[in-house]
Symmetry: D2
Subunit: 142 residues, 4 copies
């Protein structure tokens, strides 16, 4: 992966599922959010804490916003590569950026915003102290 | 609906969603299980307890089996009718039957089996006492 | 609905499906795009042409962009109301806006951008002539 | 893989997606049909013809039946292994069997039945001649 002082990037290969296509013959546009999440899971695990472990600590990264820019559609038979980077990190939230490629062709770009939630209290919170350094280490261009 | 001594039937109308189609131009076969569940929710609510309320009591109806028999495919633009009945009721589990029609045409038939789970104990249990009579009242041909 | 010179608004009621929830206990964020599409289908049908009919004419409204702003999560047991309006209409594309409410509470806002595609030619095209007036009639605040 | 005279088996590893969980905290039961399909795609490709290529030849393998037997639930954080074998092959249809394991633990078993469809004619047909030998070669225990 990238050198540590440039932050990290998660790359996953996703084989398109037949169920993900629609009658237009391409992947339905909502599925890219699911692929983004799969790449985000991979990036988060590069902090040393799988996201399921973060939930077990009592925290969640609630999605507050999402943006998608669709250039070309993925098709059944394709294996696409999804890249995820951490673009913004503040005391209360963070933002990820995503790119989906088929070979050299950019298919979709996007971003998601998240806030930390303390599950027991049921409200937004600061980033848990023990996760500060791990998430700072994956911040892109940090 | 059916007379009380014949049990109950839930009927719901479902407008096919574009996202539910696949590149074959019909509804992807996994979605019928989701429609079955929507009709099962409606039937359960006829016991006087919405399924979300049953979960809040600390119980779940875990799916242990499913069968689907596909005759014809639903298409985007269709509104289909999904019927659900309670076919079997024992002390520890129950089975539902489903039929999906487009007008007079039968599209899909199916069934699901479930066991009661005590969520706190994390294991199978008998039907909660206060739910015995309500579920008996919706048993088909009871 | 709204008076014709204010354009039109489609309103649909969606009962949350159990399958739409995730382990966070709320509706997974990708499903809102599916609900948006369901409301968009309803709005398009107010032109007098169901979207499936538009596809049969040989045209598609390809999604080129999407934005979602999540305020609160819908839950199993909820029936939410999704509103869709046509915000922008040009010779080659259009944009829709969406709001999801549970009662008076705004849950999610969003928007999608689309271009017309001539399916036979496999490329972007101008709005089909016979659809110009119908779509102008549903333009919001037109 | 298995020796040729024992037929073939496709094995795929699937990382559970957050979106595949439901509020019960396990993978929603409809998703196993999607995973089955992903393993079926892999097995079909062992005939030397990816299923997308078969569709391009003008044929489809329509799903006519499905059975699922759920033992234990997969969870977010799990990577499960899905195995698919061809259990039955006749002139007009075929049946696949599936097993989903997490490590040594069997989670779900199932089966699906399919018939060949000639897309242009819009009706069931015999197996295309050029696919007879390839599919016979992957028949389990053939």
């Amino acid at each position: 992966m990238s050198p540590a002082d440039d932050g990290a990037e998660a790359l996953i290969d996703v084989e398109v599922r037949y169920a993900e296509t629609d009658q237009m013959g391409v992947v339905h546009h909502a599925n890219y959010l699911v692929w983004f999440e799969l790449a985000r899971t991979r990036l988060c695990s590069q902090t040393g804490h799988h996201y399921s472990e973060i939930e077990q600590m009592g925290y969640q990264l609630l999605v507050t916003g999402a943006r998608l820019d669709y250039r070309r559609g993925a098709r059944y038979g394709d294996t696409v590569r999804v890249a995820c980077t951490l673009e913004r990190l503040s005391s209360r939230g963070l933002s990820f950026a995503y790119r989906v490629h088929r070979g050299e062709t950019l298919l979709v770009r996007g971003g998601t915003d998240h806030v930390w939630v303390d599950v027991a209290k049921g409200r937004a919170c600061r980033i848990p102290e023990r996760l500060e350094q791990p998430f700072a280490s994956i911040l892109n261009g940090g």
